[in-house]
Symmetry: C2
Subunit: 393 residues, 2 copies
Amino acid sequence: MLGEQNLDHDGAPAEPRHPPVIDKPVLIAEPLLPDLKDLIPLLEGIWERKYVTNHGPLHEQLEAALADHLGVKTAMLFNNATIGLIAALKLFDLPPGSEVITTPMTFAATAHAISWNGLTPVFADILPGTMTLDPAAVEKAITSRTSAILGVHVYGTLCDVDAFARIGASRDIRIIYDAAHAFGATRSGVPVSQFGDASIFSFHATKLFNTLEGGLVATPRESDRKKIYYLRNFGIKNEEEVVEIGINGKMNEVQAAIGLLNLRLVAAEKAKRRRLRNRYIEILGDLDGIQLPAEQPEVENSEQYFPIVIDETRFGRTRDQIYDALKARKVFSRKYFYPICTDFEPYRHLKIVSTRAIPYAEEVKMRVLCLPFHSNVSEDAVSVIHDVMHARP
Amino acid sequence: MLGEQNLDHDGAPAEPRHPPVIDKPVLIAEPLLPDLKDLIPLLEGIWERKYVTNHGPLHEQLEAALADHLGVKTAMLFNNATIGLIAALKLFDLPPGSEVITTPMTFAATAHAISWNGLTPVFADILPGTMTLDPAAVEKAITSRTSAILGVHVYGTLCDVDAFARIGASRDIRIIYDAAHAFGATRSGVPVSQFGDASIFSFHATKLFNTLEGGLVATPRESDRKKIYYLRNFGIKNEEEVVEIGINGKMNEVQAAIGLLNLRLVAAEKAKRRRLRNRYIEILGDLDGIQLPAEQPEVENSEQYFPIVIDETRFGRTRDQIYDALKARKVFSRKYFYPICTDFEPYRHLKIVSTRAIPYAEEVKMRVLCLPFHSNVSEDAVSVIHDVMHARP
């Protein structure tokens, strides 16, 4: 079953080395970068125009291309997703101090963006399986001070968008999605950014589509464009008016140039990752106590991460043991997300609202592991993972 | 007196055209950019390492070079000065809602950074002459809720740092400087970042030293380094601890590469601007009703801007008339700062605390004009400015 073909070249399958030896560390992620030869002419244009930031022509071009690629009315580039998320939360004039319900199973920036807006994060539990925010826990967490729900399409797995749409519609609650992991995801052909009031994508180096650092605020309403534009650029409406307490969220032209070129590479990278996903499912699918990424049949996956959940009682070894065993063979997985937001000093005093006695998030944080997931994960690395996972303890 | 030499070449002085005609618009600022031929090898290194952000080697190199160049213990790069200023204000754990006294004669970001921290901006008047925060007005504005003074070295002109040091020392008040305009300024050889508790520089494209977008938080204490590092990177202390409500303020490697190369160009650009400054003084010095930039004999100027203040009653024409007359001849000056922060919708309800009946800031905002100030301002452009300023109304 193993080693039938090498993923990293197209010729005849190479004879795999047994046991495979990794020379160069295999990282959890690797940035997709365009050919420098393609970038240089774009840089020459920027240098000639001397128009290097403040919504230059490449910035405008990338923004239009992304609106098109993601199938969304309003798509506004940011210098990173955190600043985008901070601005997006500001978009809705949520009452100061009001509560925003979110998941602890996310990167710290999700909670921080709430705090920077003078809002109060409230953590609700996640669902087994998808590891996304549990609508029942959210219902339980809602108070008269709740102004928004900030769901996270964690690992690219979609939140229960229908449940949150119902919750949002029945009360005056905004639904916002941290879509940092969900670039290009769709459900039954509907782009992920069509769900909720706003979706924030990350273009950090570790993401499928990257601009080194970067982000995007997408909303299904053309009418949001103006205010996000102001918020991104210090609240400046025109030469004489500043109408919002804005921020500097501008992406420069060089990063926009890299984005324009990377956008052409996304489809091929995604196809390679899809093959890697299938290889992982092939080598791990028969293991007792290993939960593979949630299947969402109507969802076109963003191919961002490959998380597994290791039930140590059934599997016989813990997540940390697997992490260490892989690391010893130069394959770097990631305990992601561990710790979770409610473990962090600024949020440690907050409980996770759950329908269970012990929140599922507390359980899964000890069990979840993301495997290396990018096109340079060789078949040798897959072999190493196979060997480590199938070794008898 | 005019046209004795052309600033833009080194040969024999060209015969000036009379009246000079500007073919290409002369802008208020132009970004200093390194030769692309020098940048490409650095990009090749980044592409080979695939280490594109998160404190990469060029980032570390630039940070060290800037600490050295600016003569400061702690120098931390940011993706822009606004995010730097937001993080710097967070550094001191100022009580929520406490008051930060600042100048209205500044870019909106100064006030916004206070607001984003959940602090209350209090605007105090500026001094005639230097146009920096007036210590007497600041004293008048201090209440029991004052936690910090945020001075701005506006146009590169230094604040009365001695007065603010005294105020800070006599009370529990932090002194922070928005040094966006003051890159490389010194007083009696002492770097500007040695004054106060923190100084924030801007590396935006319009600044003498630029990284397209960028900024730096500098403090005179080595011990601040760690906390600023955490604040810049989501509050992450290590793989398992998040200790602050941080932000994403990271600069990527490509911008760091541009910064490393631009740093080599700063001295020559500064020398050219110094000559331009002297030319402006030459052609404007004899005009009644024109106030030239404040002289601070002990200060090594940052050569960032050249603001003049036009007293229309003595000069016979208004600032706006001069602006329009220059524009008609393709020379773009800037009404900077006009409007001022207290004119902006988020701060309009706030009064400027002043020792005068009508704050000086209200007066000068109608009179101040920044002339184009960079090495590509030709002698023809200087001639146009001379002609416009000397024309009889």
